[in-house]
Each structure stands twice: as structure tokens, then as C-alpha cells.
């Protein structure tokens, strides 16, 4: 009998505000240790937190983007635990009444779209950073991160495979980037994930789950979930019981291990944060935030498919980031005749070349206007598609415009009948045996002649005209 995998995800996402959640300290990354702290985020006695309105606005915007309800009144609570990077001895979070509840994200699957529930999004503050490496009996603490605003996005246990979990995370990551509510740089820990994993026989109640903590790479998350699923199945099939616990993924050894020390600390003794009265927002404020919402990746993908006739694949590639989608739209605006050709040249030719240079679209040395004029030169038969690739190389390198490069390199396509006929005659004269054979019925040799003529023209002959004139001249 088969096993069914059940996965729920918690994502911690750093909100990209200029200042911390409850004080006016800068959140800039990479500052001198402890240079961005104050009595509030250091947990000095008698200090009072004051909420950053931008953190609330961005959390509401995220909630609206995943079709959730916004609680017009939400509350803050204290989550109590002891750790040196948490100077107050508690984290301000939202436990009883979060600001966002009940949304969903649609992911593509082999059997069409699947809707995955989002239970809630709440605001909380980050802890500081502890460093242990290379230190003997001590740890070092940097509290610059202490108090930076986070959103915790909690899903329903709706995913049934590691692939669905990754699809959900990628979709969420993309939405967050489109909204501009977080830089979501995974390497900097600005988008990190805990995965709750359990297995059961189909139709039975949920099995005991384990929690894989604090993962910040899609690849590791997939590996960790797949490892955990196999580990649990093995335990159960061997007659054992899965123990509810937190586990840590070791990406070097490719295995997870139990975090036993965390277990006792799980009694967080939440209680209402007495320093913060309820957060109230009006429906008008929520509506105003909604009015400013940008087009989301899903909407954009569908629009690219219907408006420009792109394949689902191309639409997906071109909507990976907002800047890429905007670049594509600028390209189509400048070369409206053929949006599909625009997509091909952008996705295959330009992005490929940029990738080799380690650049993204915002750093492209060739502008959308410049690429459009290259496509114009293909369309008006000045150059062939093949030559155009060489021209694009030259444009990337020199930054010169299309026409200058075509002139300088003498790449203009030869569409003059006289010149093409002369080249064809030369080829025919040089290959009398092949001409005989062709006339004797070996039709396949036609391609040979076309190739020879194109070669003689250094690729500059208009291929359609070569075909046409060859047919006529070979009789």
C-alpha cells in the first residue's frame, strides 16, 4: 500500500523597511556589529515599542495578494524564551489575532492548477545573530538584526509532495518580490522556511509530524523533505513510531538530525503584549493599499499568453521578475509586428548571452529599443536571422547600434538577383558532377547547392531568394 505525504510550510520573510519593527534603528545589511541598535531593540528596561507603519502596510499588501482576509483589528503577544540573541527574553509576535488570515496560492501541477491554503500571516520581530565558529568557550552576539520586522506566512498542510512544496515556495517568493515587500534574498536569510512533514496511509488521519527548521535554499528544502519522508516511512514500516520533534538539515552530510535541546523550550507562554494596544486599520486604508497593488505574476503570465500568444513556457520564463516582464513589454512596444519572435530573441538569445556574462536583464548592454531594431532588420530582409545572432554578439560587445555594425562588417544581406545568380552560377560550374546527379533525379542534392551558395556569400545571401533562383536555374 502506498504512503501519502503531508507537508505544511512556515516562511519567515524579512520585510524590507528602512527601520526596525518597533524602533528607528536602520536595517541596512552589512553594518558594523551592534552599530544599529538602541535601548528598544536591546531590551533595556522601561523602553516602549512603537510599530513601523510601513511594516504593517507591506504585510497587508501581501495578505491581499494571496486573497486573504485582513483583520481590521489585530493584536500583539509576547513569545517567551531564553537565548542570548533575544535580549528582551521574548519576541513580540502576533499569536491570538494575526493581521492576515485565510488566503491561498495556486500552483501549476501536471493535473492543472492546485489551490493551496494559507492559514495566516503575522508580523513579528527578528532575533539577533549568534556566532560560534572558531570560538572556544564563548559565543559572539550581534544585535543589528534584533527587531527587524518579519512576516511569518503559515500554510495549511495542503502539499502532497516535495515538488508541490517547492512550487508553493517559488510562487510565494515571486509574489513577494513583485510586491516589493521584501528583497527575499535567500542567501541573506531574508526568506527562510520551516517544513512540517508527516506521512499517512491515504484516507487516514494525519501522522505524527516533524519540523525541519530554518532552510534557505529551494534545493535543500526539497532534499530535506524527501529525506524526512523516507526516514519516517522506514520507521513506521519497521514497526516504530515517529517522534514529534524539530530537526535540522545538514546540507553537507545530506541528512537531518534531531534538535533535542529545542524541545523543552517549546513552552512559549504567550500572553498579550501590554506595551502595544490593538492595531486598528480601516477598510478605507485597506482599499487604498489594494488600489496600489501591482500586477501579480499569475495575472501577468495569463495576459502574456492571451495578449501576445506566448506559450505557457515562454510566459513563465518572461515573468520570472518584474524587470524582465517590463523589458519584454518595452521590446514588443518597439517591435509590435511579432511578439513571439520578441519572446524567442529575448528568452533564448539575449538572456543566454547575459547569463554567460553573469548579468541580469537590468544590466543588459543592449536596450529593448536596440534589440527591436535588430528584429526590424530581420523583418525588412536587411540581414538573415543567422547573421542577426552575430550582430547581437557585436552589439553586446561594442554597444554600437545595429545599422552601424551591419555597415562596418558589410553584413547586409544580398537580395540582388544579379549578384545571387552570379554566385549560383559559380557554384554550379564548380560542381558539374553534382549538377548531373541532381538532374538525374537526386533531389536531395538541392540542399547541398543551397549550402554552397550560402557559404560562398558568407551567409549574406537572402536564403529565400537563393532557394527560388536555384530552382529556376537548375531547371
Amino acid at each position: 500500500m502506498s504512503w501519502e505525504v503531508v507537508i505544511g510550510l512556515e516562511v519567515h520573510c524579512q520585510i524590507n523597511t528602512k527601520t526596525k519593527a518597533f524602533c528607528g534603528c536602520s536595517t541596512e545589511f552589512g553594518a558594523e556589529p551592534n552599530s544599529q541598535t538602541c535601548p528598544v531593540c536591546l531590551g533595556m528596561p522601561g523602553q516602549l515599542p512603537v510599530l513601523n507603519d510601513e511594516a504593517a502596510r507591506k504585510t497587508i499588501l501581501t495578505g491581499l495578494a494571496i486573497n486573504a482576509n485582513i483583520n481590521l483589528e489585530s493584536k500583539f503577544d509576547r513569545k517567551n524564551y531564553f537565548y542570548p540573541d533575544l535580549p528582551k527574553g521574548y519576541q513580540i509576535s502576533q499569536f491570538a489575532v494575526p493581521i492576515v488570515e485565510g488566503g491561498y496560492i495556486d500552483i501549476p501541477t501536471k493535473n492543472g492548477e492546485k489551490r493551496l491554503g494559507v492559514t495566516r500571516i503575522h508580523m513579528e520581530e527578528d532575533a539577533g545573530k549568534s556566532m560560534h565558529e572558531g570560538l572556544d568557550a564563548v559565543s559572539h552576539i550581534d544585535l543589528n538584526r534584533s527587531g527587524i520586522p518579519l512576516m511569518e506566512i503559515v500554510s495549511e498542510p495542503d502539499m502532497r509532495s516535495a515538488d508541490e512544496a517547492i512550487a508553493y515556495l517559488k510562487q510565494l517568493h515571486q509574489i513577494i518580490k513583485f510586491l516589493g515587500v521584501s528583497d527575499a534574498d535567500m542567501e541573506k536569510g531574508q526568506f527562510r522556511c520551516d517544513a512540517n512533514v508527516s506521512v499517512r496511509r491515504p484516507g487516514e488521519p494525519f501522522g505524527t509530524r516533524t519540523e525541519m527548521k530554518n532552510m534557505n535554499s529551494f534545493r535543500f528544502i526539497k532534499q530535506a523533505i524527501e529525506f524526512e519522508v523516507l526516514r519516517q516511512i522506514e520507521i513506521i514500516e519497521d514497526g516504530g513510531e515517529v517522534k514529534q520533534e524539530s530537526r535540522l538539515w545538514d546540507s553537507v552530510k545530506n541528512e537531518s538530525r534531531s534538535m533535542r535541546s529545542k524541545e523543552e523550550a517549546h513552552d512559549y507562554r504567550y500572553f498579550p503584549e501590554p506595551d502595544l494596544p490593538p492595531l486598528r486599520v480601516t477598510q478605507e486604508e485597506v482599499d487604498a493599499i489594494k488600489a496600489g497593488m501591482p500586477e501579480l505574476p499569475n495575472q501577468l503570465r495569463k495576459r502574456f499568453e492571451t495578449e501576445f500568444g506566448l506559450s505557457a513556457y515562454d510566459a513563465d520564463v518572461l515573468t520570472q521578475t518584474q524587470s524582465l516582464a517590463q523589458w519584454y513589454e518595452a521590446l514588443v512596444a518597439a517591435h509590435p509586428a511579432n511578439p513571439k519572435q520578441c519572446a524567442n530573441w529575448l528568452a533564448n538569445e539575449l538572456l543566454g548571452r547575459l547569463k554567460e556574462l553573469g548579468k541580469d536583464i537590468t544590466e543588459s548592454p543592449v536596450s529593448a529599443q536596440a534589440l527591436a531594431s535588430l528584429l526590424d532588420r530581420i523583418a525588412d530582409n536587411t540581414i538573415s536571422g543567422k547573421i542577426a545572432k552575430d550582430v547581437l554578439d557585436a552589439m553586446m560587445e561594442s554597444g554600437k547600434d545595429v545599422d552601424t555594425i551591419i555597415d562596418e562588417k558589410g553584413l547586409k544581406q544580398v537580395s540582388d538577383t544579379g549578384a545571387i545568380d552570379a554566385m549560383i552560377q559559380e557554384v554550379l560550374d564548380a560542381n558539374p558532377e553534382q549538377v548531373e546527379a541532381y538532374k538525374g533525379g537526386q533531389d536531395r542534392l538541392f540542399g547541398f547547392f543551397v549550402g554552397q551558395v550560402m557559404k560562398a556569400s558568407k551567409g549574406k545571401a537572402n536564403p529565400a531568394m537563393v532557394n527560388q533562383r536555384l530552382k529556376e536555374l537548375l531547371g
Binding site: C25, L42, N52, H132, V138, P272
Partner: protein, 92 residues
Amino acid sequence: MDIDVKKIANLSRIRLTDDEATELAPQLNSIMGYIDKLSEVNTDGVPPTAHPHDVAMPQRADIVTNTDCRDALQKPAPRTESGLYVVPKVIE
């Protein structure tokens, strides 16, 4: 309700001797008993109180107002090194 004094003390990082725990248990239990009296009140249809004052939360604009005061802030710390706080080793 019977309170596990040792557990609460451990979660709060308060070191108690067995004698102290034995002495505190009835005191804490009587406080809990006093609070339990509240559950005798019928609160059907009364929304939970989040805060004793009926005010909405004031908020601040997202503008940096604090400057680097590390030297002054680290003065009370028992030990620092290159701007980092130094604490007894903690590791998972």
C-alpha cells in the same frame, strides 16, 4: 490547579532550591486560585480584552531616527570584543 514550580522556574531561568520550590508552590497555587475566581463570571458574548486602555496603536513613519551609540550602549556589558557582545558558549 497544581503548578509545577520547578518547570516554571526552569523556563524562566530562575534557580530554586527544593526548599524554595516547596515553599513557593502553595503561594503560587493560591494566586492561581484567586485568578480562577474570574472564570466564575459569565463572559458569553463579551469580546476578549486585548488592552486595558481602549486606544488604537500609535504608529511611526519608516524613517531612521537612531544613530550609532554602540560605545555608550555597550558600557554596561560584562564583556565585548570588536563591537560584539561576548557570552558563555551557546550552541545547538
